[in-house]
Structures are given as structure tokens and as C-alpha cells.
């Protein structure tokens, strides 16, 4: 039985008409009244910047918050490969329905059909909007837009700007945001971290922030709050996320009643630069677009220590092409990652650590010439060479999977509203569209769809349909929330034990990677839960935070974030333990086909798991479910063979 708060509020009827029908049935705020309403947006990545700009264009007063020194630095900036849209410009048979179909199938049937269809419909408008803003997408000689292919699709539908698509799209959204800041419609607060949500009369009505440069705790009131704070991949310590990416804003909301959905659905990206030492602070992604031209292989023999170029063709195993002849090197990310892990587990990994496989461009260079390859991937090759000191034009890249994206996030309905009324969640921070695995070039699409085209409509529906008390930041709930934040900061800055908090974070990462990573088992997950609890106790009893509270103190910022990750890690393990099946990025060793493919259990787990945090000294949760129905894409075992 689904929890009453988990009503998806999705429209019914023909899927092609659902979003139109819904837009018509939603309540409107008339243009003159919009200026009487304030919306808080937390986060300035693709979802946050686009939502802020668009709501301001409509006439709302927007207050936007970001932890970095400028909105332009949000981690969307680092997305490389591209953005999907169903334009069918290449005339290769693409359509909205095909993009919808590929995304539902790619997500291994754990997403909501209505949401995904809407995403595919909106995708085309995103490209139009970005081009109008001046986003310099790649073009062909005729001056029209170019496309390339990404994993999980057999058409070319990915728009790109070299290997810097995220940068260009974010700068587009940032420019739209700047225009509204200049117009006085957006009040921008940089270097401000949200540390709590304020709930008045059961509705999200504001936030408490800390000014990162001065330590000042501030109160902000609004009619609604939009969270666009990204994913939680840094729970693994090493990931491709930026160093400051964190779960704190979402976690604070979770503690105040927003359910957390499918936390164990994390994406391990197959093509990252392997780690080189213990000091390693983060991992660097090599865009999936490289799999258009690069061929993945390992030596046929275990422990073959020859240099890659000395290994003859006949002694190489191009295992993705061998196992999946129709998709080849372009299988979805979860499949490519798992296969790389299997090769390494078999003892056929390469490089100094043995934890890598080759991604080889020599055939493509022979076929197309070095200049063509350089034009497509130049900046990626350059980045690879800077980090590894090896030239990928001459020697195959060494790659290995790394944590990259989190499909799970705060539960939202069709309107992107969480189970805490008034709190809306956009982009990677919500769980909505990618099911158990996200396809490449779909994150940018979703972030911008939510921000430009969904939230601006649904926020109006919420505001017009909700009775709201006229309050200020003097309301007692604000005082209490501020007090709680201050107490927490005092406690954190008072941690003067002997263990460096970064070491605790590293240990958490190791537990997560080994036991809640690419492959999970009942035994390992139970062990992980115990170990995370022990680590959490160590953090509070023996952690050390240097410096003071009322100044720029990066140690203190990190401490608060690590404390929240230590709770999230446990929830992820619990979710993975409860989900007795394998699907997408979630692979339970107990549930696999004889060919080691993920084996779903649709009978018992064709649902979203949404966790409600219980009150109490130690974190504990109740698991609720939202059933998923598949009327348009038939539930089948995924096959990319």
C-alpha cells in the first residue's frame, strides 16, 4: 500500500497529451500578482540557474543561493559530452517516443513513464532556447547543428560543444540569470550555504543560511523553496563530483519531512582516469562520447604485462564488441562499468594497479586522421595527458569506472514537489527521471527541462492553490531553526579530537566503494551498515575541526557536510539491502543471470522506495513505496546484444 504522501499526481490518459492536459489544468498566478510572491532557489547549476531566470522572467521575486563565489562555477560546468534531444535532425529515425523509450529502458524500468515522456517532449525546446541564448553548439559546414551518439541509443541525438557542453549550457543559463539580476528580479547570494529549511504550518517557507566568508547565520523567507543542489556522489569520497558538491541541503530537508527516494541508485561511470595514489582528491571523467571512436579492450591473457602497442590484434579481447555486437562500445554506462569490473576481477586489468582497461583510438586515428579526432576530443586528450603524462594519440588511454551521478534523490511528484509541501526539487537533486541508470547526455537535458520548463509552471500552480500565512523571519519557527543551526555549528567547531575529518571521509568512501559500489551483497551491506555507524560515532567523539566559526573556514564547511554523508551512507546501504533484485546501477550479487547480467524482480520491486526519516537520537527510517506502471514501454529484460 502506497503512503498517502506518495501520490505521483501524474495526469492520466494518452501519454502524448498528459503534459499539455496538465498544463491546462494547473492553476495560474496572474501577471500582476506574481510580483507579490517570492521563491527561494538553492543552487545555481543548470537546474537552479534556469529555474531562477525563468521564474524571474515570469515576474516572481527570486532569491538564489550558491555556495561558490559565482553562479557560473556550479558543477554542471564540468559536464563534457552533450545534451540529448529528439530533434531527428540527422534523419535517422529519432522521435520523442524513441527518446522516451530509450530513457525508460536505459533506466531499467524504475522511472515514472509520465515524467520521462514529458522530458523527451521538452528536450527539443531546450535546444531552441540555448541556441537563442548564443550557446555555441558544434555545427556542420552548412551551418546547421551537428549531432553525435551516446550510450544506450542507436540514433545520433546528442548536441555538443566540443567536450565542454556543460560549460556552454551553464554559461547560457548563467547569462539568463545575470539578465534577471540586472533587472532586479533575482537577488543573488553567493558563498551562502543552506543549513536548514524552515517549515511553518507544514509548508516549506524559508531557509537558514551561513555566509561562508563571515560565518554569519541568516534567515530568508519565501512562498516556496526550490532545491537544485545536485547529487551526493561525494559520499564515496573519490568521485567525479566537484570537491564542494554535497548532500547537506537535501539532507536537512529530508530530516524535516522530505522523503528520500532510491538512494542506492548511483551511477558508476565507465570511463574515468584510474586513481594513482592515496593523496588522490578526486577522479576525472573522460566523456562517454569517446566511446563513439574509442575501442575498449584488455589482453586475452591474464597478467599480460606487455605495453599495449606490443600486444598483437589477435591477443586482444574487445570484450564489449564481443559480448554486445549490436551496441558494441556504446552499451549503457552500468553495463560497461560492470564488464570492466569483471575483466579486472578476472585478473585481466591493465596498468600499474591492474585496475584499468584500455580505451584505444589508434583505429579511429588510422581511419579518420589525427586532426579529425583532435577536433572532436582535443580538450579531453589534453586533459588526459596532463593528468597521466601519457599521450593518447600514441598509446591507448587507461580507464576505470568511478562514481559519477546519483539517480536517487529527494522524492518528487509530477510537479517536482517533494513530500514536504512547498519544497520543490529540480535536477540531479531529485530522483525523478532516470530510474536505476541514467543514459549519457540526459543529465543536462533533465536539469534544464526541470528549470526552464517544468518548475516555472508548477510553482505557479502551488502558489495559486495554497493558503499561506503572512509571515516574516520573526516567526518563532525561524528563530528555532536558526538556533538549531547555531548549536550545530558550535558543536562542529568544538570537535577537537585526534582524527582528521578528511580521514573519516576517506574511510567512509572506502566502505561505500567496496560494499555499496558496483557490486553489492547481503553480507557486505550488513557489514557496511555496522562500519558506517562506528565511523559516525568516531566522527562525533574523536573528529578534529580546525579554526573558528566566524570566518572563512573550509574545515568547518566540510565537517557539516561529512556529518550528513555519514548518515546518508547508511541509508544507501539499507536501501540496497532491501532491494532484493539487480537493476541498472544497482547490482546485487545474489540476483544475476547466468551471463552476469542484472536480474530484475518486477514481481516484488517494480516500485520507487521512498524513505521517511524517523525522529530519534540515532537516524532510522521507514521504507515506503510508490508503484510503477509501464503502459507504453513493455517490461522486458534489457538486452543490448
Amino acid at each position: 500500500m502506497a503512503h498517502p504522501k506518495l501520490n505521483s499526481n501524474e495526469p492520466t490518459g494518452n501519454i502524448e497529451e498528459r503534459w499539455d492536459k496538465h498544463r491546462f489544468s494547473m492553476k495560474l498566478v496572474n501577471p500582476a500578482n506574481k510580483r507579490k510572491h517570492t521563491v527561494i532557489v538553492v543552487g545555481t547549476g543548470l537546474a537552479g540557474a534556469s529555474a531562477s531566470a525563468t521564474m524571474a522572467e515570469l515576474g516572481y521575486n527570486v532569491k538564489t543561493f550558491g555556495i561558490l563565489d559565482s553562479p557560473r562555477r556550479a558543477h554542471s560546468i564540468a559536464a563534457q559530452g552533450g545534451i540529448n534531444a529528439a530533434k531527428n535532425y540527422p534523419n535517422d529515425g529519432d522521435s520523442i517516443f524513441r527518446l522516451f523509450y530509450d530513457t525508460v529502458k536505459g533506466g531499467d524500468f524504475r522511472s515514472r513513464e509520465s515524467n520521462v515522456y514529458r522530458l523527451a517532449q521538452i528536450s527539443n525546446h531546450i535546444i531552441d532556447t540555448c541556441v537563442a541564448q548564443g550557446v555555441p553548439f558544434a555545427r556542420d559546414y552548412g551551418g546547421l547543428l551537428a549531432n553525435r551518439s551516446f550510450g544506450g541509443a542507436q540514433v545520433s541525438r546528442t548536441f555538443y560543444a566540443r567536450g565542454q557542453t556543460g560549460q556552454q549550457l551553464l554559461l547560457g543559463a548563467y547569462s539568463a540569470l545575470n539578465r534577471q539580476i540586472n533587472a532586479g528580479k533575482v537577488q543573488m547570494h553567493n558563498r551562502h550555504e543552506m543549513l536548514d529549511v524552515v517549515v511553518v504550518g507544514g509548508k516549506a517557507r524559508g531557509i537558514i543560511t551561513r555566509d561562508i566568508t563571515t560565518g554569519k547565520i541568516e534567515r530568508h523567507v519565501a512562498d516556496a523553496v526550490v532545491l537544485a543542489t545536485g547529487g551526493y556522489g561525494n559520499v564515496y569520497y573519490l568521485s567525479t563530483n566537484a570537491k564542494n558538491s554535497n548532500v547537506t541541503a537535501a539532507w536537512r530537508c529530508h530530516k524535516k519531512g522530505a522523503f528520500f527516494a532510491n538512494p542506492c541508485f548511483t551511477q558508476i561511470h565507465p570511463t574515468c582516469i584510474p586513481r594513482s595514489g592515496d593523496y588522490q582528491s578526486k577522479l576525472t571523467l573522460m566523456s562517454e562520447s569517446l566511446r563513439n571512436d574509442g575501442r575498449v579492450w584488455v589482453p586475452k591473457d591474464k597478467g599480460d604485462k606487455r605495453k599495449p602497442n606490443d600486444i598483437p590484434e589477435a591477443e586482444r579481447d574487445y570484450y564489449l564488441e564481443r559480448i554486445y555486437p549490436s551496441f558494441g562500445n556504446l552499451v549503457p554506462r552500468d553495463v560497461a562499468s560492470r564488464q570492466a569490473k569483471f575483466r579486472v576481477d578476472e585478473g585481466r586489468g591493465v596498468g600499474p594497479t591492474g585496475e584499468a582497461v584500455y580505451l584505444d583510438f589508434l583505429d579511429a586515428i588510422k581511419r579518420d586522421g589525427e586532426s579529425t579526432i583532435s577536433e572532436k576530443y582535443g580538450n579531453l586528450f589534453q586533459m588526459y595527458e596532463k593528468i597521466t603524462d601519457e599521450n593518447p594519440y600514441k598509446m591507448p588511454m587507461r580507464i576505470y569506472p568511478a562514481v559519477h551521478y546519483t539517480m536517487g534523490g529527494l522524492w518528487v511528484d509530477y510537479n517536482l514537489q517533494s513530500s514536504l509541501p512547498g519544497l520543490h526539487v529540480a535536477g540531479e537533486a531529485n530522483f525523478s527521471d532516470h530510474g536505476a541508470n541514467r543514459l549519457g547526455a540526459s543529465a543536462l537535458m533533465q536539469g534544464l527541462a526541470d528549470g526552464y520548463f517544468v518548475i516555472p509552471y508548477t510553482i505557479g500552480h502551488y502558489i495559486a492553490g495554497t493558503e499561506m500565512a503572512d509571515i516574516t523571519t520573526d516567526h518563532p519557527e525561524f528563530a528555532e531553526a536558526e538556533n538549531n543551526v547555531k548549536n550545530r555549528m558550535n558543536t562542529l567547531v568544538g570537535l577537537k579530537g585526534s582524527t582528521h575529518i578528511d580521514d573519516i571521509h576517506r574511510d567512509l568512501g572506502k566502505i561505500m566503494w567496496n560494499q555499496v559500489g558496483m557490486s553489492r551483497s547481503k553480507e557486505g551491506l550488513n557489514e557496511a551498515i555496522t562500519n558506517i555507524q562506528t565511523l559516525r560515532d568516531k566522527f562525533w567523539s574523536d573528529g578534529r575541526v580546525a579554526g573558528e566559526e566566524n570566518t572563512k573556514n573550509h574545515q568547518l564547511e566540510k565537517a557539516g557536510r561529512i556529518a550528513d554523508l555519514l548518515e546518508l551512507g547508511e541509508l544507501m546501504a539499507r536501501d540496497a539491502l532491501a532491494r532484493e533484485e539487480s537493476c541498472g546501477g544497482h547490482f546485487r550479487e545474489e540476483h544475476q543471470t547466468p551471463e552476469n547480467e542484472a536480474l530484475r524482480n518486477d514481481e516484488d520491486f517494480c516500485h520507487v522506495a521512498a524513505f521517511e526519516m524517523k525522529e530519534g537520537e540515532k537516524p532510522s527510517w521507514e521504507r515506503h513505496t510508490e508503484d510503477l506502471k509501464f503502459d507504453y514501454v513493455k517490461l522486458t529484460q534489457r538486452s543490448y546484444k
Binding site: 560546468i77 603524462d389 580546525a546
Partner: protein, 257 residues
Amino acid sequence: MGGTSTETMKIKLKIWKQDGPSDQGHFIEHTAETVSPDMSFLEMMDVVNEDLVNSGKEPVEFDHDCREGICGSCNMVINGNPHGPDKATTTCQLHMRRFKDGDTVVVEPWRAKAFPVIKDLVVDRSAFDRIMQAGGYVSVSTGNAPDANAIPVPKVDADEAFMSAACIGCGACVAACKNASASLFVSAKISHLALLPQGQAERLERAHAMVTQMDEEGFGACTNTGACSATCPKEISLENIARMNRDFLKAGLQRRK
């Protein structure tokens, strides 16, 4: 083969410490004892900070985020060079294999009147945001766009616009310039939009507004020495400045306001 070095180096560091904008500031000295050549410069700084914290001292504050050379957060002047000695490389992408055992390395913040120091190596670059707010956009609201392929853009123009749009807004151009001019940063955005058909309607207005704001922020004048472009981690071209000057001049003559 990269990523395999087992030898470590000893690096002597002189790092800038400053409590706030009004503090005079000073250098602290610290020796990093076991630096791996495969470390990035920021990973070396992480280890220094861990050492400082473990010995009961205050760590050094510095801005950083993506550590992939694209967010533009990191900003260290290393031995007098913004982002260090390597061409086309941000601080986070600079690797310690570039240094030798026993080297002394001096680390300072960007130094410019328009970028006041917040703390240690962290500076306030909000002036860049304000210049962008003054006009660094096409005035198009969501929902107003024609089909993306309605206006063909010659590939050479699109590619050149991209090259200008690749600016990461780090501010190294300002830190490298003896006049602390922001001309390269500002001209990159003016060029990006001036090269595309979508940017034509507001082209002169934009150049005028952005240059005016740049002057108000207290950046110095450009004297065409080219240190900015030589230092730029994204190798933004000096031609952009020429284009900005042309458009700004034209704006003075032709602007209809």
C-alpha cells in the same frame, strides 16, 4: 609510464596568509616532505593543510572546486605566475612532476585592486559577475526561441565564438596584467556574442555597458602587452580585445540612446 612514480620530493613552500581585506598579510614557510610527482598542485596543498591541522595550526584557505580545469575557482600565483609555469593549465591541472626535489615554491593570491583578498589565497571576484550582469547576455526569455536550425551559423563563426566562450572566468588575465586590466575577460564575452547572429541586436549596447562596468570596478586600462593571453589557461586570443575596442568605439558613435 605515468601514474607510477614511487619517488617523492621535498618542496619548500612560502605561502601567503592574510586574515581579511584589512590585514597586512605575511608569508608562512612550510616544507612538504613527501610530495609525489603525480600529485596535482592542489593535492599537494591538501597535504600541507592536513599537516598544518595535525600540528595544531590554521590551514590555508583557497578556492577550488571541480579540479578539472573548467570551473575557474582555483587561483594561485605560483612563483610569480598566475596558475604556475605551464602553458594553458589551471592550478588544479598543474602537476608536481613539473617541480624538482628541493625546489622553493612561492604561493600568492591574485593581486588586483578589483579583487580584494577575503582570506589567505581567497579573493573576491564578484566584479566579474557584475560586468556580466551589465550586459553579457542575449535578451531572450525562455519560450521565445525559434527552431534551433532556423538560422544557420557558418561553422567558422560558430567555432570562433566557441573559442571565446571557453573563458572560465578565473581572473588569471587580471592577475597577470601589470595594469590589472580585465580586458581579455570582458572582450571574450563581447566577442562570443558578437560573432553569432543571435548576438547582433544588442551588440553595441552590450559592448558599451560591459566596458563601462569594467571601468567602474577599478580594473586598469589595457596597454596591449599580451601577458593576459599568454597566461590564460584557455588560451583566449588577444584578437578579442581588438574586437571589443572596435565595438566600444562604434557604440560611442552609433548608439541610439
